[in-house]
């Protein structure tokens, strides 16, 4: 385990993305309204590929709302309205001709509370490949499931009980199962909405390790209320406050020399 962490850390520093390369996700002038409430105000943000980007800010600042715009989960809320433009690989995801089902296969999501389906561990991971028709055969599907469980670092723990219910796992394992479920459809972007807030510190550490590994292959956007976590896992950080994106930049810079007074106040614990 220890060696793995070291390797990953070294990889993380190596993989510093060239700011000049094309961003994976581009948000321009994004506004979100919940009925009368203006929840997100003119947000502009570029998210680099194959790196972890953290969204931080006090409760109700709009960071989760922004996250849910990226895979259009806000569509499931009837009163929610989104304006502006979000592009993934230069393709507008709010384009009416784009299919939301396909979009969500490309943009996976992990939720605050682990939400495994009340099915077997195997079925949980196989769910996505099955509905999208990825697997041609049973062996194909087995391969995808086992591979995804491996990538989520869960396989060794559950390999003897793949037919047991996903809800029988511990909280941390459940969350890694949810991550395995998300990566089983091989998405390009993984959104994580405070994935560790319901977990104990040991489980949290495991998830954080996992994120480090995953950023090799995936673009990860994580919402977190823990600044330490943001500092530990992310390449870049964006600070939201009252619906505005206040400041965005390299994580190191954000925490050492914030440009905005509000960022300063937040990271020094004046409010939160």
């Amino acid at each position: 385990m220890n060696s793995l962490v070291q390797v990953n850390q070294s990889e993380a520093t190596d993989a510093t993305p060239d700011v000049g390369t094309k961003p994976k996700v581009i948000a321009r002038d994004v506004n979100v309204y919940y009925g009368e409430k203006h929840a997100l105000k003119a947000v502009n943000l570029d998210v680099p590929a194959r790196a972890v980007t953290a969204l931080i800010g006090p409760s109700g600042c709009g960071k989760s709302t922004f996250l849910r715009c990226i895979n259009r989960m806000n569509d499931t809320i009837p009163i929610c309205r989104v304006t502006g433009k979000i592009e993934i690989d230069e393709r507008d995801i709010y384009d009416p001709t784009l299919d939301v089902v396909q979009l969500r296969a490309r943009v996976g999501m992990v939720f605050q509370k682990p939400n495994p389906f009340p099915k077997s561990i195997y079925e949980n991971v196989a769910y996505g490949p099955k509905i999208h028709g990825f697997a041609k055969s049973k062996t194909d599907l087995d391969e995808i499931v086992i591979g995804s469980l491996r990538k989520a670092g869960l396989f060794e723990e559950v390999k003897d009980r793949l037919t047991e219910s996903g809800t029988s796992l511990s909280g941390g394992q459940q969350q890694r199962l949810c991550i395995a479920r998300a990566i089983a459809v091989n998405p390009e972007v993984i959104l994580m909405d405070e994935p560790c807030s319901a977990l104990d510190p040991i489980a949290t550490a495991k998830i954080e390790e996992l994120m480090d590994e995953l950023q090799e292959n995936f673009t990860i956007i994580i919402v977190t209320h823990s600044m330490q976590q943001a500092a530990r896992v992310s390449e870049r950080t964006a600070f939201f406050h009252l619906g505005y994106l206040v400041e965005e930049g390299r994580t190191e810079d954000m925490f050492t020399k914030p440009k905005d007074q509000r960022t300063q106040d937040y990271i020094t614990g004046r409010f939160g």
Binding site: Q102, A105, F134, G147, S148, K151
Partner: protein, 598 residues
């Protein structure tokens, strides 16, 4: 490890045709699934609409009633001024009608004529004369209630074709059997209809014969089967053989009869111009001529023979256009009133003696064997008394039980049992409560049968769980902070509950109570068990009188053979539904009005 994991990951090109087709198929499945849901709700809505429409269509006619307004002479021969109550008012009514149709002589016809007017008409006349005895000896215009058949005749309307005749006619007499000879084939159209009716009947008979033959053939096959193995047949099989043989015999006889009858009808049909006899299975043909009416029994194209129903003024010739051929399209066999009665009813209508009124009696009188006199007042009062008993029992008990369980009950086995009990009681079939009422209240406690008291007791037990559950929900909705505040200023537990928790919960409790009462109002089965099904004419006056309730009345009427009771049943259902809608509506209103967000 990372290397290995990567190898299993595969990317899918969503733009590929296969992927696109798959997505389209998924969306089709989605649309289909959604459609199933809509269909389910649509079917439910459709069913509701059909039921309600059916009932309204059936029930609306019962709210009006036809009566004949005739000049009634109240002679002192029938009504002795000294004994007004004992007068023969039936005779008064009878005489009025007979004066209108003097040619009705046979006993059967006279009885039919009397049957037009309801027996209740005499009773109403009695009431009128009792309140004003000076009417005796006078002739007064009186509204006479019609019997159910006559009333139905006017309500349903009947198809009557009138065809002015083109030829000049001569009639052989003014009464009895007469012959009408027309100069032109005025009866040709009718004759054709009758003949084609004969053909249709022959067809039906032939089909029927064919069907019987088919049955017979299957039986023959079975018979042959049995006969082949007759040597080893058991007594039971021999028995079957005998039955089959008998069946085959009777079937072939039926086939022969039908075939013969069909052949006979066919011959009559083929002779298209020959004289034809009319029976009650074809449309009735009558001739209105010289101020009278003749029912045709035989006819050719130009000549009709028949019986006079309404007397003619003269036997002389009638000019073309002055007489007409009248057809009652529905065959007599399919009507509840025969040609004679139709002619009387039509004559009364032509004289302007028939009027229609709102049927107030439906709401003001009790049950009756005569549909036109039956009303729901007894049932309504019975229901009201029953619900009164239910309410005064289950409201206090229900609320007290809810308060206990919600606020005072310790967590122990007794409380647990009570809770489980209440939930289970809510799902016990209502007829079982009826058994309880029968065995406990009637047989054990010797309470009076058929009484609202017992009905109310049973219904109270039946709706108690509903009220307890609703009241508990209402009490639970009051935030504990309010009670804690009261306790904090030194109120006892009971003071806190009765002064501060119960009042804000009251609207919720009332809502639950109204819904429970609505449930009780519609409940029928337990009331049947405790004998509230008797035929009771009098309106009950107390909770121990024999009574019936509105839903039970509906059940009783729905079982009666008279067609007119069907409309009464539907009308009673409409009244019941109106009450239920009002009750449930007020419950919803109450909930909206007092719904409080804490």
């Amino acid at each position: 490890m990372t290397e290995m994991a990567l190898s299993t990951a595969r990317t899918v090109d969503f733009a590929s045709d296969a992927a696109q087709a798959r997505v389209r198929a998924r969306y089709r499945a989605e649309a289909r699934f959604k459609m199933y849901g809509l269909i389910a709700i649509g079917l439910t809505a459709l069913f509701l609409v059909i039921v309600l429409t059916d009932i309204v269509i059936k029930g609306l006619p019962a709210f009006t009633q036809h009566s004949a307004v005739l000049d009634v002479t109240i002679s002192d021969a029938d009504v002795d001024p000294k004994a007004v109550r004992d007068g023969d008012y039936q005779a008064v009514v009878r005489n009025t009608l007979r004066a209108r149709f003097p040619n009705v002589e046979s006993r059967a016809d006279r009885r039919a004529l009397d049957g037009i007017i309801s027996t209740g008409a005499a009773d109403r006349l009695r009431e009128r004369v009792l309140s004003d005895p000076s009417l005796i000896g006078k002739t007064v215009s009186t509204q006479l209630l019609l019997s159910d058949d006559a009333d139905l005749y006017y309500k349903e309307g009947t198809r009557i074709d009138r065809q002015p005749a083109a030829g000049a006619a001569t009639v052989s007499g003014v009464a009895g059997d007469v012959t009408i000879q027309s100069s032109l084939p005025d009866f040709a159209a009718n004759l054709k209809v009758v003949k084609s009716g004969l053909f249709a009947r022959a067809q039906t008979l032939r089909t029927e014969a064919e069907r019987q033959r088919g049955y017979a053939r299957t039986l023959e096959a079975r018979k042959a089967d049995i006969e082949r193995t007759l040597a080893t047949a058991t007594p039971a099989v021999r028995q079957e053989l005998a039955t089959i043989t008998a069946d085959i015999a009777s079937m072939s006889q039926r086939v022969e009869e039908a075939t013969a009858k069909a052949a006979e009808l066919q011959v009559r049909f083929d002779a298209s111009a020959s004289e034809e006899t009319l029976d009650e299975l074809v449309a009735s043909v009558l001739v209105q001529i010289n101020g009278g009416l003749v029912k045709v029994t035989k006819m050719t194209d130009t000549q009709a023979t028949g019986t006079v129903i309404l007397p003619l003024t003269s036997a002389g010739p009638a000019a073309a256009g002055s007489w007409q051929v009248v057809t009652y399209v529905v065959p007599e066999a399919n009507r509840r009133v025969n040609d004679r009665e139709v002619s009387w009813l039509e004559a009364l209508r032509a004289q302007g003696a028939i009027g229609s009124n709102f049927n107030w009696a439906f709401f003001t009188s009790g049950d009756s064997r005569e549909p036109e006199l039956a009303g729901i007042r007894g049932a309504l009062v019975g229901s009201a008394l029953t619900l009164f008993v239910t309410l005064i029992l289950c409201l206090p008990i229900g609320v007290a039980a809810a308060i206990y369980l919600e606020e005072f009950a310790p967590k122990n086995w007794l409380t647990e049992i009570i809770e489980v009990n209440i939930n289970n009681l809510a799902a016990v079939p209502s007829i079982v409560f009826g058994l309880l009422g029968l065995a406990m209240f009637l047989n054990f406690f010797d309470l009076p049968r058929s009484a609202p008291l017992v009905g109310g007791l049973v219904l109270a037990l039946l709706v108690l769980p509903t009220i307890i559950i609703a009241s508990r929900a209402a009490l639970r909705a009051v935030p504990p902070s309010i009670k804690e505040a009261a306790l904090g200023v030194g109120a006892s537990q009971q003071q806190a509950v009765f002064h501060h928790v119960l009042p804000p919960a009251m609207p919720g409790i009332m809502t639950g109570t109204i819904i429970g009462m609505a449930h009780a109002l519609g409940e029928t089965a337990p009331l049947l068990m405790i004998g509230m099904v008797a035929f009771i004419v009098e309106v009950p006056t107390g909770i121990t009188d024999a009574a019936t309730a509105l839903p039970v009345q509906i059940y009783l009427w729905s079982d009666l053979p008279e067609i007119a009771f069907q409309a009464k049943t539907a009308a009673a259902i409409m009244v019941l539904l109106v009450f239920l809608f009002v009750m449930n509506g007020s419950a919803i209103y109450l909930r909206r009005q007092f719904e409080r967000r804490w």
